[in-house]
Every structure is written in C-alpha cells, then in structure tokens.
C-alpha cells in the first residue's frame, strides 16, 4: 500500500498537499494544527486508543458570535450561578474512545474548564467551567479547533431540564425485591411437611410474606389498575383488565386464605406475575439514545442570526426576534431561518435539508429565498418577509397533525384478542361459580377466584412485548431503527407505500453524469480536472470525482463566479465551466433548462456539456418489483416532471407518479389515501416530507448518516439498507405470525390451569409452577422464532 493516510483523520493524503510534521503525515494544515495543540499539551495519547480518530477542523469564523448575546447564552446554558456555568453540548463527531478521552481532558488544554463529562450514547459532553475565566464562545471555538464542533440549534433554545422517567425501573426493582423474598419465605410451605417447628413459625412467615407482597401489589402493579380503569371508562376492553382483575382477586383471596388459615395464599405467584410482566414491558422499550424521532425544524434551524441594524451595525439576535423588514446577514454554510428577499447580487442556496436535492439553486438579487436553505459561498444579505413561525416551511408545523398528541392510532393485536378473552373468562368464572354454588358454597367461591387467578393472562400479555422487543433489536442491528414496538404492528398492516423522489429513491452522494459534445482530448481533460479542483461547488466536486485521474498542472488564474461558473486561465487559454448562459452555448434550446448540466468552453471553442442525472439507489428496481406484488406503490416529488420518462422505465407499470408537490400537498395526499381506507407507509427524507411522515401510519425517514439529521418519524432507515425494505416489511408480518402462534400456546396453558381451577383443585403450588413455566416457555418460544425468521431472507 503506497497510499498514505492522515495521522489525524485517516483520510487518504493527496501527495502534493502532504504535510510532514514531527515524523507524521497529515492531509492538511487543519489536522496538523490539531496534532500540534495536543502535543503541546502533552496529550498525544489521544492517538493511542484509536487509529486516526480525528476530524479536520472547519473554519467557523463568526459563526458562533451569537454566544456573546446574554439572552441567548442564558437559554443555552444548563446552569449558571456566580461564576460557575454548566453547558451540555451535542457533538456529532463523538465516535470512539479517543473522543471520550480528549473531551474529558479538556481542562488540560484550557484553563477555566473545571470538568467535562462525555455521554457517549447521546453524543453529548457536559462541561463545567468558570465563566469569569472563559466564555462559552471560546469553549466552542476550542472544541471546533480540535475538530469537535458542537451542534447548536434552535432546539437548544427551549431546553428545560427534561426529567427522565425512571418509574418503570423503580417498579421493576420493587417487584423483583418482593418476588425474590416471597419465594424464599414460601419455600417451607411448598413441601407441606408437618414438622413441629415449621408449623410453629407459620404465622411469622405468612405475615412477612403478606407485608412483602404489599409494595408489589400497591406500587409495582399500579400501572395495570390505572390502565384497566381507563380502558373500562373508554369502553375498550384491553388486556390490562383481566390482568388487573387477576391481581386484585389473587390478593384478596390470598389475604382471606391467610387470615382464615386455609392456606398460604398465592402471594408468591402474584409477586412473580407482576415481576415478569414488568420485565416484559422493560424489554419492549429499546431506545436509541443517539437518535431522535421527534425532530422538527427546530433541530435544524440556528439559534440566532446576524441582523444588520439601520445604522449598519451587526448584531446577533435570537431568531424568534427577527421581524418582517429586518435585514439579515447569512454567512457561508449558514441556514436561512426565514423567508425573505435576496438583496445581495447572487447567491447559491442548498436546499438539501428541505428537499433532498443536492444541487444548489442559484438566486438573483430580488428573488425570494425560502427558509431552510443553506447559503453556500459568500456572505449574503437578505430582507425578511415573514417571521420564523410564518415562513413557508415552518408553517407546515402549524398543521393540526403536529399539534395533537396522537394517543393511539390503532388497536394493538393484544387488545384485539383480549376483547374476546375478557368476556369468555368472566363467563367461565361465573359458570363455574353457578355450578358449584348448588353443591358447596365455599368451593364455589374458591373456584370463582381460582379461575380469575389462573386465567390472568400473564403469558398472553408477555407474548407481544417479548416478540416486538426482540424484533426491534434485530431490526436495529440491521440499521432500521424503530421508534417503539407499536411500529412493528403498524408495518405489518401497511398496504400502500408512498416514496419521496429526491433524496429518498435517488441518492445525493453519487450522480449519474453523462457527457454530450465534442470528444475531450487527454490534454483538455487534464485542464478541466485541474480547474474543477479549486471549486467547492457540489457539481464541481461531483464532476471532479467522475473524471479520470490526471497529473497536476498549475492554474494561472482562477475565479469562481457565484451562480454562474468558474473562469480560469491555464497558459494562454481561458477556460469557462458553468451554466449555459455563462459559457455562451451557441445552440441553447429551452428543453435543456430542466436538466442540471455543466458546460465547458476552452479557449474560444465550445466543447460540450456534462449532464447530471438523478442517480437512483442501488437495488431500487429490484426492490420495487418485489414490493409491487404485495403493495401499492406511489412516488411523490416536489420537482417538475423532467424525470418522469426515466422513472417510468425503472418502476413497475402501475406505479403512480405525482410531481410538483408542495409539503402541504404531500400531507394531503397521504390523508386522502387514508380516507380511502389505506394503511400508508411514507418513506421520505427531507424536512418537506415532515408533514407526510407525521400523517402517514408509518413514517420512515431515510438518512445517509443516522447520527445527524432526520425529520420526525416512526422509523429511521440507514440509506445503505434501503434495498432491504421489503425484508423488513416481511419480518414485521412474521412477527405478527409469531404472536398468533404463541397466543395459541399461552391459551393452552390457560386451559390446563382452568381445568384445575374449575374442578376446585388449584393448589398454591400448582399456580406457582404454572405461572413461571408458561412465562419461560413463551419467552423462549418467541425469541427462538423471531431469530429464526430474521435469518430467513
């Protein structure tokens, strides 16, 4: 391997730019500087933990000036009193143990930082610093200078300390504590040996058991009573009713047995039942703390923006304070937070956050610019037309779909079963009671309670959580991250799939480039490639990567004209690369305008143009033909229908293609399908799909980098796994099959238990055996089955 990679960031080094420093090779000055900072502070063991862990620092001059504004600062800080301040910063680059090490040793680089602590799964660092010595702005600059630029967005503006709900952990802890101790103390009873001393201490043991069962009964199981009560109130029979009924009956009967000295009661089964069910609940919750499923525009938008006051002074203001008529200054790589009119002469705006389209759009002075675009290139000025909440894009969030907290859109499979289960159970209990009451009143009561106890659908209630929990983990490993277990059921119900076009079924990483024109000589190729090298425009970068490798030559002059193209001089030749009007294409026809292309002119000779076509994701055609047999497929696009013909050849015949869709129209489109009774899955990527994603039954967001951005949705899919979408859908169907199978299994247990119960033979020991046994078989059954199905492609 002759290729050198950078000691700091691991990127392959371009030979001519290699920097040698301290016997190490670096790809650029930035990486070298970071290394210098670390070696100066005696911290080079950063490189010992992981090979090439760093990132190249970016130029952020002026980007964080807003942190000087006291009002903004107060919102960003987590805590501030006297001179101690605490801030929690989100740093997307955190990815390895070296990162943890360097960020937790910040105090050695920068005096004033007292302590810093990394939360790796959340990619956050919490820094405690002395605000007299150092400002937050300089900390942010320090972090950026070592390649750990924090991500500060509008979301940080409204952070109250959100309290983590740990009640389930407490409940589980209490349940386990009670269960373990009760089991231990119940042991002598299981053997029923008529031994003098055991009989002697029986009241003591039983009293202890009773008191130990109280916290489990009153606290741990409390969620089930609440849920059962709610479900009765809303007249929807859910699974929690028989559970709550079973637990209460169990407790009352056991207390009665104990007081009357009939037997030890079922406290052991009760504690076990509560514990296992809470365990199932816990297992079902699998959170990906590095992902967020609740993002709206606030996670994308900056917290502040530079305003130009009438007296030409510049000032950072929170973007909520931006009013109509204000003049704003937008720097390179900054996001435009509001709709407005461009004042500067030219601008190139990248709307990839919004539409997924990688190619920036050129705007002239006086053009409308919309919120959500990212400025590329020079500093621009704009005048505000609408405030933040009234902008074109942000208005989407005032749609009612974002307002109401959708409690539950559908009935779960467990609830569907329990609609029949509960009445049948009660029927059996009363029939048993009615039969025995004529024979023996005591037995009648025993039978009645025993039925309710033994039929308490523990195994039934555990089936879904364990299956979904396991499937959730399997999918997570394959980079399909679901918000929660309910999404799996929703996935299985989907019958219509709607895809966004740009950024979803096309990729913005690679472009399909075609050349049209006179043949390019070896020499011209060298010139073009070298001219493109200096440009940071996305199209130039794509074309640069597309052209064959050549040797380096020196450019005599290089100029990039925003919105037009590149003007360069090599030797005595002038080279123009850019738009048709800039290059002066002799035979321009209007149909060409819809296509993105770069025209080339060397000297006085027009060579031709490179046309950029959408590159569809790998395996798209196969995926669609596989999906087509089971689902209705539709494609929505915000673009014009220039790609229609091309798409029609790739996609199955009956695919509906809809073009020129605004964000609200996409939402309406989904709504209409739902009104026709369809279960819709929306697959999208940009912020303009956010409405459709929220409206759909399952909103799946495709993300090139799952750690960074994705709009609010039910599931996030890594873009590389896109072609496996049909497999994921199939797995969700299999999950439902597994649940149905194990429902049968758990009902069998209920039948066995009931046969003991109705004959009046339910011993506490039998109950204590049946319950854990059924639980364990169900759990192992569903785990094995779901693993089996996931392996079968």
């Amino acid at each position: 391997m002759s290729e050198q990679s950078c000691f700091h960031c691991g990127i392959t080094i371009v030979k001519s730019e290699e920097i040698n420093f301290d016997d190490k090779n670096f790809c650029c000055n930035g990486c070298k500087t970071v290394y210098e900072i670390f070696s100066l502070h005696d911290m080079t063991c950063y490189y010992d933990f992981e090979k090439s862990p760093g990132a190249t620092p970016k130029d952020i001059q002026g980007k964080y000036d807003f942190l000087e504004n006291e009002a903004i600062l107060a919102k960003v800080l987590e805590f501030q009193e006297a001179n101690t301040a605490i801030v929690s910063l989100n740093i997307p680059h955190i990815h390895c143990s070296s990162c943890i090490w360097i960020l937790e040793n910040l105090n050695r680089i920068q005096p004033g930082i007292n302590a810093s602590q990394v939360n790796f799964p959340e990619k956050k660092v919490r820094i405690t610093y002395n605000s007299d010595v150092i400002s937050l702005k300089s900390i942010v600059y320090l972090l950026s200078s070592i390649g750990y630029e924090p991500y500060i967005s509008l979301e940080n503006y409204e952070t109250g300390k959100n309290n983590v709900d740990r009640s389930l952990t407490y409940k589980l802890g209490v349940a386990f504590f009670c269960f373990g101790n009760i089991m231990l103390l119940s042991f002598p009873e299981y053997f029923e040996i008529k031994e003098f001393w055991l009989d002697n201490y029986k009241p003591f043991f039983r009293a202890l058991i009773f008191f130990l069962a109280l916290p489990s009964f009153l606290y741990s199981a409390s969620g089930y009573y609440v849920s059962a009560y709610k479900s009765i109130k809303s007249k929807m029979l859910n699974i929690d009713i028989p559970i709550a009924l079973g637990i209460i009956v169990m407790f009352v009967r056991s207390t009665f047995d104990m007081v009357m000295d009939y037997g030890p009661g079922f406290f052991d089964s009760l504690a076990g039942l509560v514990f296992f069910m809470l365990l199932g609940k816990m297992f079902q919750i699998k959170t990906y703390s590095f992902l967020s499923f609740e993002r709206d525009f606030k996670s994308y938008f900056p917290i502040a923006v530079t305003r130009i006051n009438p007296d030409t002074t510049e000032e950072s203001v929170p973007i909520y304070d931006v009013l109509k008529g204000n003049r704003l200054l937008i720097r390179n790589q900054e996001l435009i937070p509001v709709d407005g009119i461009l004042i500067s002469e030219k601008a190139e705006i990248d709307y990839s956050f919004v539409t997924g389209e990688a190619v920036p759009i050129a705007k002239k002075s006086g053009d409308k610019v919309f919120a959500g675009g990212k400025q590329i290139g020079k500093v621009i000025e704009m005048e505000v037309l609408h405030s933040v909440s009234q902008s074109y894009l942000t208005q989407l969030w005032s749609n009612e779909i974002f307002q109401k907290n959708v409690v539950q859109k559908h009935k779960t499979i467990t609830d569907a079963i329990s609609r029949y289960f509960t009445p049948i159970l009660l029927l059996i209990a009363f029939v048993g009671f009615g039969y025995w009451i004529f024979i023996d009143a005591t037995t009648a009561f025993n039978v009645f309670t025993a039925v309710l106890i033994v039929a308490c659908p523990c195994a039934l209630a555990l089936t879904a959580p364990f299956t979904f929990g396991n499937i959730l983990r399997i999918l997570g490993k394959q980079k399909f991250y679901l918000k929660n277990a309910l999404v799996i059921e929703q996935l299985a119900k989907v019958d219509t799939i709607v895809f966004d076009k740009t950024g979803t079924i096309t990729t913005n990483k690679k472009a399909n480039i075609a050349y049209d024109g006179k043949s390019i000589s070896e020499e011209d190729n060298t010139i073009i490639k070298n001219v493109l090298r200096g440009s940071n425009h996305p199209l130039s970068r794509m074309l640069y990567d597309f052209l064959p490798e050549t040797k380096r030559i020196k450019l005599d002059d290089f100029q990039e004209i925003t919105g037009k193209g590149i003007l360069a001089v090599v030797g005595d030749k002038q080279i123009k690369i850019g738009s048709a009007s800039f290059v002066g294409n002799p035979n321009l026809d209007t149909s060409e305008i819809e296509k993105t292309s770069l025209h080339i002119k060397i000297g006085e000779q027009y060579l031709g143009k490179f046309v950029f076509k959408n590159q569809y994701r790998d395996g798209l055609e196969n995926l669609f033909s596989r999906l087509n047999s089971n689902y209705q497929i539709k494609v929505l696009s915000g673009d014009n229908d220039g790609e229609r013909e091309n798409l029609e050849t790739i996609l199955p015949k009956n695919t509906e293609l809809v073009f020129n869709q605004k964000p609200e129209q996409k939402l309406e489109f989904i709504k209409k399908l739902q009104e026709e009774g369809k279960n819709v899955m929306m697959v999208g990527d940009g912020l303009n799909d956010a409405g459709a994603l929220a409206q759909s039954n399952v909103g799946v967001s495709i993300s090139e980098n799952v750690n960074v951005f994705s709009p609010a949705c039910d599931a996030i899919l890594d873009a590389n796994e896109f072609s496996k979408l049909d497999y994921f859908l199939k797995l969700s169907h299999n999950a439902i099959t597994i649940i149905k199978m194990s429902f049968v299994l758990s009902l069998l247990y209920n039948v066995v238990g009931l046969s003991f119960a109705v004959t009046g033979n339910l011993m506490p020991l039998v109950a204590a055996i049946i319950m854990p046994l059924s639980t364990i078989t169900i759990v192992s059954f569903v785990t094995l089955m779901s693993n089996f199905y996931s392996k079968r492609k």
Binding site: D42, F120, F177
Partner: protein
C-alpha cells in the same frame, strides 16, 4: 429455635439495604449511560502514566 425470628428479620433488613442502594443508584443517573464509564475506567491509568513518559521529551524540545 426462636433465633429464627432474629435471623429472618436481619436477612430482610440486609435485603432492604441493598434495595435502597439500588434505588439511590438509579436515581443518581448511574444507569443512564452504561457505555462511557466502561471506557473511562481504562483511561485513568493511561493519564497517570503518559505524563511521566512524555515529559522528558517535551523538555528536550524546549531546550
């Protein structure tokens, strides 16, 4: 045999002690991040050793 009252009571109190320790641990946020501490524990040794290793080198450079 009445010692069994004492023994069982003691065992219950020990169990309660552990239970309280668990609750306190959860409350303090110990289980919120279960990855970083596992890495961090390996660092403490490194940071102590490296300064001693590297110091002479740095001094040489400065001279």
């Amino acid at each position: 045999m009445s010692v069994i009252y004492l023994l069982i009571s003691v065992s219950i109190f020990v169990a309660i002690g552990f239970f309280i320790a668990f609750i306190v641990a959860v409350k303090s946020g110990q289980y919120d991040d279960d990855y970083t501490p596992s890495v961090r524990i390996l660092f403490d040794d490194e940071t102590k050793i490296t300064p001693r290793d590297n110091k002479p080198k740095i001094e040489e450079k400065q001279v």
